[in-house]
């Protein structure tokens, strides 16, 4: 596991979850959405309160976690401009996505600094694909994972301003995900609810691409 990805705050939250291996999404949402309802507050609030109380510098940790994902996406699309063999409509889409992800990197970096934190360093990435289809498959994984990651972290964000900004980014990631899925001839919105991902689930999805 890349140390840079795991902020102490987020790691502590994960470790201190009741039952040890319960992810945020398990605790907060999965069952609730399956039932088409929301848990009563009493069921989960002790965990949530604990998580929020622990994360004194939690927003910086969450933002740095997001920054790492955005670094990955930005690099992926920047490389894709020359590697993905994209033509026509897809070529324009790759350019759009590369620009958006780079703007997310810059915005998150500035926000971490604004909050008095230190932006994480950009990891080295290795993306293995040899054709347009391979690129599109990875793109779908990254965009869907990005949506789940922001949705999973959202309820842990303390600052309303940071939450508003993260919301503005996750909606754009969802739009990217839909556009890439259309390119793959897949359902752009496969389910009525986008499943939030825990930090652990996100790391598992992106680790193979971090050198």
């Amino acid at each position: 596991m890349n140390e840079k990805l795991v902020t102490p705050e987020l790691a502590a939250v994960e470790v201190d979850a009741p039952g040890g291996d319960l992810s945020r999404s398990d605790v907060i949402l999965k069952g609730a959405l399956a039932a088409g309802a929301i848990y009563g507050t009493a069921m989960v609030s002790p965990f949530v309160r604990k998580a929020l109380a622990m994360s004194e510098s939690g927003d910086v940790g969450i933002l740095n976690f997001a920054l790492t994902l955005e670094y990955l996406e930005a690099k992926f699309y920047e490389e894709a401009k020359s590697r993905a063999k994209a033509k026509g409509e897809l070529k324009s889409l790759v350019n759009l996505l590369a620009g958006d992800e780079q703007q997310h990197v810059e915005a998150l970096t500035a926000t971490v600094k604004q909050l008095g934190g230190k932006p994480v360093a950009e990891p080295k990435f290795n993306f293995e694909y040899s054709d347009t289809a391979g690129f599109l498959k990875l793109a779908q994984t990254f965009e869907d994972t990005g949506v789940g990651a922001y949705n999973g972290a959202g309820p842990m964000i303390k600052s309303k301003e940071v939450l508003a900004a993260a919301g503005g980014i996750v909606q754009v990631e969802a739009r990217h995900a839909a556009a890439i899925r259309l390119q793959n001839k897949e359902e752009p919105a496969p389910a009525a609810f986008d499943t939030p991902l825990s930090e652990k689930q996100v790391l598992k999805a992106v680790e193979p691409f971090i050198v």
Binding site: G36, A164, G168, A174, L182, P188, A189
Partner: protein, 215 residues
């Protein structure tokens, strides 16, 4: 529908969308975007959305959920009417069916959530939609979905309960997916606001759906 026309026009749309908050962190965040909307961003920063604007739908999170429920009812009714209209077939019809079914799931989940919080779910509004041609219907669908996504984004920071927030976020991104899909079908940009989606306040959203409500 002057409101809807204005919403579709990217320039006047900015005027109608308000950005919540106004702290230095968000200012830095937005400043860092470095896009061409810097001046309009500054303007909209001054109009705060803020909590309590959904008070007419109920107190606190119940009010926000009922506001969302009202919008989801409208979306569900809209898609049901579109399916009945016979204007679409094939792949486009399948997409519309899928999105309609997802909006209906949102209605169910939000209704259950309001009850769970001890509130009374908002009643289903009576609505009528102009269904003239496939193109105009797709345009209306795109407007409604983009507005819906912006409405959720506008309320997210006002939600008190982390559980309600988690659910709202899970719906918000699906509305974003719907919006991008419809924009794609229309040959329009998937990200009309650029790299950062903009929120819409309650007043703007309600004013936009008003023309479809019938008493």
């Amino acid at each position: 529908m002057p409101e809807l026309k204005q919403l579709r026009d990217p320039v006047s749309r900015r005027k109608f969308l308000a950005v919540g908050g106004g702290s230095t962190a968000l200012a830095a965040f937005l400043a860092a975007c470095g896009d061409d909307s810097g001046s309009t961003t500054t303007t909209s920063m001054q109009s705060s959305t803020g909590a309590g604007e959904t008070a007419e739908f109920g107190k606190g999170d119940v009010g926000i959920l009922n506001y969302a429920l009202t919008l989801e009812y409208l979306e569900t009714a809209f898609y049901a009417d579109v399916i009945k209209s016979g204007l679409f077939k094939g792949a486009d019809l399948e997409t519309i069916r899928k999105f309609g079914a997802e909006e209906a799931e949102h209605v169910e989940a939000l209704t259950a959530a309001v009850k769970q919080l001890g509130g009374k779910p908002a009643p289903e509004p009576k609505a009528e939609f102009p269904l003239k041609s496939a193109k105009s219907v797709l345009e209306l669908a795109a407007t409604v979905e983009n507005l819906g996504a912006a409405a959720y984004l506008g309320q997210a920071p006002n939600i008190e309960s982390p559980e309600v927030l988690a659910s709202a976020l899970a719906i918000h991104s699906v509305e974003g997916r719907h919006a991008a899909t419809l924009n794609t079908l229309l040959g329009e940009s998937i990200t009309p606001d650029g790299a950062f989606a903009k929120p819409a306040d309650v007043k703007t959203v309600l004013k936009s759906v008003e023309p479809f409500l019938v008493e």
